[in-house]
């Protein structure tokens, strides 16, 4: 006699502390950076009549400070790529030479494009999601780099400019600014994909996809 139970059986500690903490730091940073960044592009608040305010100044300060926190969070996450458990490390990247990895990849590609129904259960990132995260973190790095480069223009004799200013002879500061602004929307498009896919797999796998980013635990399917 059995009671009603979900398909999941054993719970496994998948997302370690630093992975979850940096995820949520990134979450808050992206929200703050997007809103403050959009204001810096287009100061939509109506102009105060009094000069006894510091609206743009404060918003730029918040943007820069959050940018520093975001950069730190990325550094920690990259560190964890090398010292963390299997699910958070670069070991979980799919190997295109491995037959099993390839078939998992195709299964997921078919599933996402509505051509197939069955996918092997993956505890960590599925191979397609992993590709998306690699692309996303590349955007993050470019975003942090271009952000600091644009900021450093306030002092072309400073350390920050000597680290990042080499980009300007290659790409003019107007196109860097354009890119820095456009990437905000690309990240916005990703967020839609990310939340949707997490909800989709939460339904499909009944393994606690959504709750795992709070608790770290994820259910392994019974074999």
């Amino acid at each position: 006699m059995s009671t009603k139970e979900c398909a999941a059986k054993r719970f496994i500690y998948v997302w370690e502390g630093p992975v979850r903490i940096t995820h949520w730091i990134n979450f808050f940073c992206i929200i703050i950076l997007s809103f403050t960044g959009y204001y810096i592009h287009n100061p939509f608040l109506s102009g105060p009549i009094s000069t006894d305010v510091y609206v743009m100044g404060t918003i730029r300060y918040v943007h820069y400070l959050t940018g520093i926190v975001f950069a730190m969070s990325l550094i920690i996450r990259f560190f964890w790529l090398f010292v963390g458990n299997y699910y958070s490390s670069w070991h979980s990247f799919i190997n295109p030479l491995n037959k099993n990895d390839r078939s998992t990849f195709w299964a997921y590609l078919k599933y996402y494009t509505l051509l197939g129904r069955k996918v092997p259960h993956t505890l960590g990132h599925n191979p397609l999601a992993l590709l998306a995260y690699i692309a996303l973190f590349t955007l993050f790095i470019l975003q942090v780099f271009t952000g600091f480069a644009l900021w450093s223009q306030a002092n072309p004799n400073g350390l920050m400019y000597s680290l990042t200013g080499w980009i300007f002879p290659l790409i003019s500061n107007q196109w860097i600014r354009f890119f820095h602004y456009l990437v905000m929307f690309l990240i916005g498009g990703f967020v839609i994909n990310h939340i949707y896919s997490a909800v989709l797999f939460d339904f499909k796998t009944q393994s606690g996809e959504i709750s795992s980013i709070f608790s770290g635990w994820k259910a392994k399917k019974r074999d």
């Binding site: 102009g47 072309p156 300007f168 002879p169 107007q174 196109w175 354009f178 456009l182 009944q206």
Partner: protein, 364 residues
């Protein structure tokens, strides 16, 4: 005639001259104590001859040089440098003019200063710009190549400027692109600010070397700070007070021109401190945003002049970053929304299926 007599003739007093020397020391970010030394350097007889070459240009930099209504100390100094060849202002013409250039070129080989105004077209074997039957590129390589150093004035000579803007029909190039191994001092701007030109020359007279330059070969004394960071309207920027339309309340109050597409945050130049027309005014003070004329890639990267960011080329209609970005977000929302609806239909009865399969498993 020495410069002292010249000044006397034209009614420029000794006091004006020394005041000017002090101002130059300020422009060059030197101590005011340098003023007497600057006066001495200007008055010495070891002044180098100057050959001023004009290529694909509008003579705007020459205009900038000559703009004063009354003779000023600055103008006298440029007069005093023996400008042996300058197509626009020299009285000689034709072969006489060319021979004046030849004389200087032969006599002072390796010692004269070459000032270049305008970009150099390299398309159609240089046929787009010829002087005395020779292509601009030929002249530049001969006269520029044998100068002590070259000062490229104006954005055309420094980065190609307007002639090199898309689609660059004449294949216009900058001085540095054609003479990569030569010492070139870039003084961009549309036009060049004459204070920066005299400053650069005085620096050479004083120290015998070009001033410290940034990675775009611009003297740091003139292009070391962004317009935005020295702007008199900066407080309005920080406060969040912006001009929203020409002639509105904010515009009358002198608020920040950021939303009107001012390129001050992208442009390195000393306009806010040196200003134009003997310190009278400059674009932002006059109520119009900076056009970003002294940056590499002006015109292509700084237009539209009244928008913050450039348009994306190749879309025909105005394709702004915001439109493209909103399209990206909109398309992902539609795609994933549709995917969600299809998935919901495909997974009808999922709960029952899962439960029954669980019971089957247990029954086995």
């Amino acid at each position: 005639m020495g410069i002292a007599e010249k000044m006397k003739c034209l009614g420029v007093s000794r006091r004006d001259f020394l005041k000017y020397c002090t101002a130059v020391s300020g422009t060059l970010a030197l101590s005011p104590a340098f003023a007497p030394k600057i006066a001495e350097a200007i008055e010495s007889d070891t002044r180098p001859p100057v050959i001023w070459l004009e290529f694909q240009d509008c003579a705007g930099d020459t205009e900038s040089l000559l703009r004063a209504s009354a003779p000023t100390a600055a103008q006298l100094i440029l007069d005093h440098l023996s400008v042996d060849y300058h197509e626009t202002i020299m009285s000689a013409a034709g072969h006489q003019a060319e021979s004046a250039k030849e004389n200087t070129f032969e006599k002072y080989k390796g010692k004269y200063i070459c000032v270049v105004e305008g970009s150099i077209p390299t398309g159609a074997d240089g046929a787009y710009c010829t002087v005395g039957g020779r292509s601009a590129e030929d002249i530049l390589k001969e006269v520029g190549g044998n100068a002590a150093f070259i000062i490229a004035v104006g954005t055309c000579a420094t980065y190609g400027g307007l002639p090199a803007a898309y689609p660059n029909p004449t294949d216009a190039k900058s001085v540095k692109e054609l003479l990569p191994n030569k010492t070139v001092i870039n003084l961009p701007g549309c036009p060049v600010n004459v204070e920066n030109l005299t400053g650069t020359i005085v620096h050479y007279l004083l120290f015998g070397a070009p001033p410290a330059m940034d990675k775009f070969l611009r003297p740091k004394f003139a292009y070391g700070k962004r317009i935005h960071d020295n702007c008199e309207r900066r407080a309005h920027f920080d406060a969040g007070q912006y001009v929203e339309a020409w002639g509105d309340y904010g515009h009358k109050q002198g608020w920040c021109l950021y939303k009107m597409g001012c390129k001050g945050p992208e442009t390195f130049h000393n306009c806010p401190t040196i200003r134009w027309n003997e310190g009278l005014s400059w674009p932002v003070q006059a109520g119009h945003g900076c056009a970003g004329c002294s940056e590499p890639g002006f015109w292509d990267t700084m237009t539209p002049l009244y928008k913050r960011l450039p348009n994306v080329p190749g879309f025909g209609v105005e394709a702004t970053a915001t439109k493209i970005g909103a399209a990206v977000v909109g398309i992902s929302a539609v795609v994933f929304g549709a995917h969600g609806i299809i998935s919901a239909i495909r997974n009808r009865g999922l709960v029952k299926k899962v439960e029954s399969s669980e019971f089957e498993d247990d029954d086995k």
